[in-house]
């Protein structure tokens, strides 16, 4: 069963430090019904990843139907014209693959990592469900229960379950599309009907509002032929207009405090609006994130963890539901930490501000910027090297650039755009975007009395 192939020994080593280490092959096509198709071939392993991205997410769901984009994602596994409930999961599994779907701010995606010989089936399946879910009231009710249990396990029954993403966006954004809870209110989920399902599908799931991406070990001409065969006769429908998700410039600091009945330690999060996606400042912000927040060399880690001991770690980044490359702006750059009760949030903020003030008033040393660039590159490569769903990280980047910048091939300019950032641009960006008046401070008040582990462990020791 073991086949030793030459490919294992032929991997190339990049030795040029300054060169762009990675150029993904990209080819793009548009079918007659408006479906955009992106291919990226990689013959290093006999696998493929197929993804379909619909340009609708939590930001576009209707008022009174919060959580609907996510509920709809679940329904896309409940059957279509040629597949019974959950048959798509069965087909993927019994052909040696893994699948999933996810709902984000601006898109909902469906993807499967499969052995390469299953390309034909994977495209057939995704085309079948692009024709629409075929589901019963019982299936809707079942997935409503499943989604409610998802919200319980991830939010309601878990300490810090809504911290910071749901709580922060509620305060930091003024536009309802951005600020509402995308997991949904239970009452809105209860109100969702089969009519809502059909109308949401008709509005947002047309081929012209979607991107099909295939990466991995396949031949492009063959894949294009299959894509045309299965997808091109899906009726065209006008792509929906995009929602107005604009946020006005924030002019005053906001601060809010929530009691978390399940938490036993206070927590603090600070979120700033970031520059517009694609701008020079956006990439400068990406490097500021590396300098300030990512890794143990980051300035906030050095100050708040190593020097002051306020917390064991500061987490965060750009985009609560992903990273800076797979969402459109508005987005927040957020830092978050849990701390002890004997330290006030204000004491931590004072130390936090001293770090932020430094990058707003002094240009970064070139050495620090160079290191941030290496970290940004490494982080990008790690995204592409996804282990849970091989090929998915690459597919996700390509689909995101196709959706948000109109050209998947722009993925190959990421490193160039980071490299173009100067210390002066970083300082200008920090000055405008890391203003106190551009931020929201969120604190968690623990609702649980201080734990008494001695009592808990009486039996264990």
């Amino acid at each position: 069963m073991v086949e030793h192939t030459a490919s294992g020994g032929s991997a190339r080593v990049t030795t040029r430090e300054s060169a762009f280490g990675l150029q993904l092959p990209v080819s793009r096509h548009t079918l007659a019904n408006g479906l955009r198709v992106v291919f990226s071939v990689d013959h290093t392993a006999p696998i493929i990843c197929v993804g379909v991205y619909y340009h609708v997410g939590m930001r576009l769901e209707p008022r009174g139907r919060t959580g609907f984009a996510h509920l709809f994602e679940h329904l896309m596994f409940q059957g279509s014209e040629s597949m019974a409930k959950m048959e798509i999961a069965q087909l993927v599994q019994q052909n040696g693959g893994n699948l999933n779907g996810s709902t984000r701010y601006d898109f909902t995606n469906y993807f499967e990592s499969m052995p390469a010989h299953t390309l034909d089936l994977a495209l057939w399946m995704e085309a079948d469900r692009m024709r629409g879910p075929v589901i019963t009231q019982a299936e809707l009710d079942n997935q409503r229960d499943v989604v409610k249990n998802e919200i319980r396990v991830n939010v309601l029954n878990r300490p810090y379950g809504s911290f910071p993403w749901i709580d922060m966006q509620a305060v930091a954004y003024d536009n309802w599309h951005n600020s509402h809870n995308g997991y949904g209110d239970m009452a809105d989920l209860d109100a969702a009907s089969l009519e809502d399902v059909q109308s949401f599908f008709d509005s947002y799931y047309s081929p012209a509002n979607a991107v099909l991406v295939v990466v991995g070990d396949f031949e492009e001409a063959h894949a294009l032929e299959l894509a045309r065969r299965y997808f091109e006769d899906i009726p065209a429908a006008a792509a929906p207009g995009s929602a107005d998700i604009v946020e006005l410039r924030q002019e005053a600091e906001r601060r809010t405090s929530n009691v978390d009945a399940l938490a036993n330690k206070p927590a603090l999060a600070v979120g700033y609006h970031v520059p517009e996606r694609g701008s020079r400042e956006y990439y400068a912000m990406g490097l500021l994130d590396q300098v300030l927040l990512q890794g143990e060399d980051a300035l906030l880690h050095q100050e708040l963890v190593s020097r002051r001991g306020f917390t064991g770690g500061v987490d965060g980044g750009i985009n609560f539901l992903g990273h800076m490359h797979n969402a459109q702006t508005p987005l927040l750059w957020c830092s978050e930490l849990v701390h002890d009760r004997d330290v006030s949030a204000d004491a931590i903020l004072e130390a936090f501000d001293a770090v932020i003030e430094r990058v707003r008033t002094e240009p970064l040393p070139q050495e620090t910027l160079d290191r941030a660039l290496v970290k940004a590159r490494s982080s990008l490569y790690s995204t592409i090297n996804d282990t849970s769903y091989p090929g998915y990280g690459r597919a996700d980047l390509l689909a995101s650039f196709e959706l948000f910048e109109g050209d998947a091939a722009q993925v190959n300019t990421i490193e160039q755009r980071f490299t173009a950032v100067t210390p002066e641009l970083v300082m200008e960006t920090a000055r405008e975007y890391l203003r106190a008046s551009n931020r929201t401070i969120l604190t968690v008040v623990p609702g649980v009395a201080e734990a008494d582990p001695t009592a808990e462990t009486g039996a264990a020791e």
Binding site: G21, E81, Q93, H117, W124, V146, E296, I384, T457
Partner: protein, 441 residues
């Protein structure tokens, strides 16, 4: 609307296993190098055969304390220089640890792999443990314990382990006594690290894209003068063989977090791979019987999953689910009913073949990424398995028969000997649990 006939596929090609370069030094240190993928990154893992089971009972979590202490630099690099240097390679230090394994791990840009190897060697061999940082790290440990004790999953895991292994074995004694943290300091960490590491308990794994000659040179240079060190001790547990229930009361809990499981053969046993197939059919995959039942039919839960977890000479099967509080009893009933049905009736060949394809295919997907390959190599090393296991895996998966699945379920998964641990609202679920026995806390 047009529909297209469902395509039929050719048979899957044989699994492709990438070649491994296995090396050994005179002091007992080993290394394996595997080229995989095209992304210019190298994964470097220093796998040390030491873990929480090596810590004395009255020093529970000294291992975790020590892992945090390792980040405080080496005898030649202080903490911030160490962090800067590693970040400059594109890496950050991750420490993954369990009962018998501590992995110092980083992913760096391809051309920086040799430097990453030398840095990990420096951390493992020459940690500084500065006394000035001990109080802060003790405080972090106390905070982490408090945070863990608020998590239903942690409480349930601890209850399950205590019930399965007994509260005196290291596998069963999960929650530490924070009073012991007061004694954790540089001296304690240094003593633990020196007693429980050394070349004969170390394996370097390098995967991804890298220059092999340079990586091998870096490995030899950094490790060949390391002392062999003391051998690892062994203390196999005696898992429970009868049913018991432990209940952690969490008033007002929206859900019950449940662990249902029991001891099964470990990876060197001939039944292990067929049991993996059995697990995938029963509860270990999205389309498995238990998931289809308690999620897709009944909507009791969002993320039920079953798996087999192993340590040397030890393994258990477990179903984990967070279910709505008012259906706690019914959820257990359905899990048990699916398990007993499989013990009574062999599955259809079609269902089994589908699952065999899934297990074989998932294995192949994992062999397609550097991370997946290195995980597999860690598994082999933990259990003393070699390339023959990898090479024969798919064949063994495909050889399982419907009747064998039934036999394995009957022999190993009887619900009468399941250990049950639940964290939930006792006032609501006590009555629902009556049919499974009397809970202890």
């Amino acid at each position: 609307m047009t529909t297209h006939p469902r395509p039929t596929l050719a048979a899957p090609p044989p699994a492709r296993i990438l070649p491994r370069n296995n090396q050994r030094l005179a002091n007992g240190m080993r290394a394996t190098f595997v080229h995989a993928g095209a992304v210019p990154m190298a994964s470097v893992r220093l796998v040390l055969r030491t873990g929480s089971a090596d810590v004395p009972a009255n020093q529970k979590w000294l291992d975790r304390f020590t892992h945090e202490y390792l980040r405080e630099g080496t005898t030649s690099l202080d903490a911030s220089s160490f962090a800067d240097t590693l970040a400059g390679l594109g890496g950050r230090l991750t420490v993954d640890a369990d009962e018998h394994t501590t992995v110092l791990r980083t992913e760096v840009l391809a051309e920086r792999a040799p430097e990453a190897i030398r840095l990990l060697a420096d951390v493992a061999r020459h940690p500084h443990f500065p006394a000035s940082e001990a109080e802060r790290l003790r405080n972090d440990l106390r905070r982490n314990l408090d945070l863990a004790l608020a998590q239903p999953s942690y409480l349930t895991f601890a209850a399950f382990r205590g019930a399965l292994y007994g509260d005196t074995h290291p596998y069963g004694r999960v929650i530490p006594n924070p009073a012991a943290f007061d004694g954790f300091d540089a001296t304690a960490s240094r003593a633990f690290w020196e007693a429980e590491t050394g070349a004969q308990r170390a394996l370097l794994l390098v995967g991804g894209v890298f220059d092999e000659a340079a990586a091998m040179d870096a490995w030899r240079g950094a490790f060949e003068d390391w002392e062999s060190g003391p051998a690892a001790a062994s203390n196999p547990p005696t898992p429970a063989t009868t049913r018991s229930i432990r209940l952690v009361d969490r008033p007002g809990s929206e859900q019950s977090t449940m662990y249902l499981g029991r001891s099964v053969p470990e990876p060197t046993h001939p039944d292990y791979v067929p049991l993996e197939v059995t697990n995938s059919l029963l509860g270990g995959s999205f389309h498995s019987r238990i998931t289809m039942n308690i999620r897709e039919t009944n909507g009791y839960t969002y993320s039920p999953h079953a798996y087999i977890t192993s340590r040397p000479q030890d393994a258990y099967w477990i179903e984990v689910a967070d279910v709505t509080t008012n259906v706690t009893g019914p959820a257990i009933r359905e899990v048990f009913a699916e398990t007993e049905r499989l013990r009574a009736e062999a599955p259809d060949l079609e269902e089994l073949v589908g699952i065999q394809n899934y297990v074989a295919g998932s294995f192949m997907l994992r062999q397609a990424t550097p991370g997946g390959i290195l995980d597999h190599l860690e598994f082999l090393d933990l259990h003393g398995l070699d390339e023959a296991y990898t090479a024969s895996y798919v064949e063994r998966v495909r050889a399982v028969t419907p009747d064998e699945v039934r036999r394995l379920a009957e022999q190993y998964l009887g619900t009468d000997a399941m250990t049950i641990a639940i964290t939930g609202d006792r006032s609501v679920i006590d009555a629902q649990l009556a049919e499974y026995g009397t809970p202890s806390t």
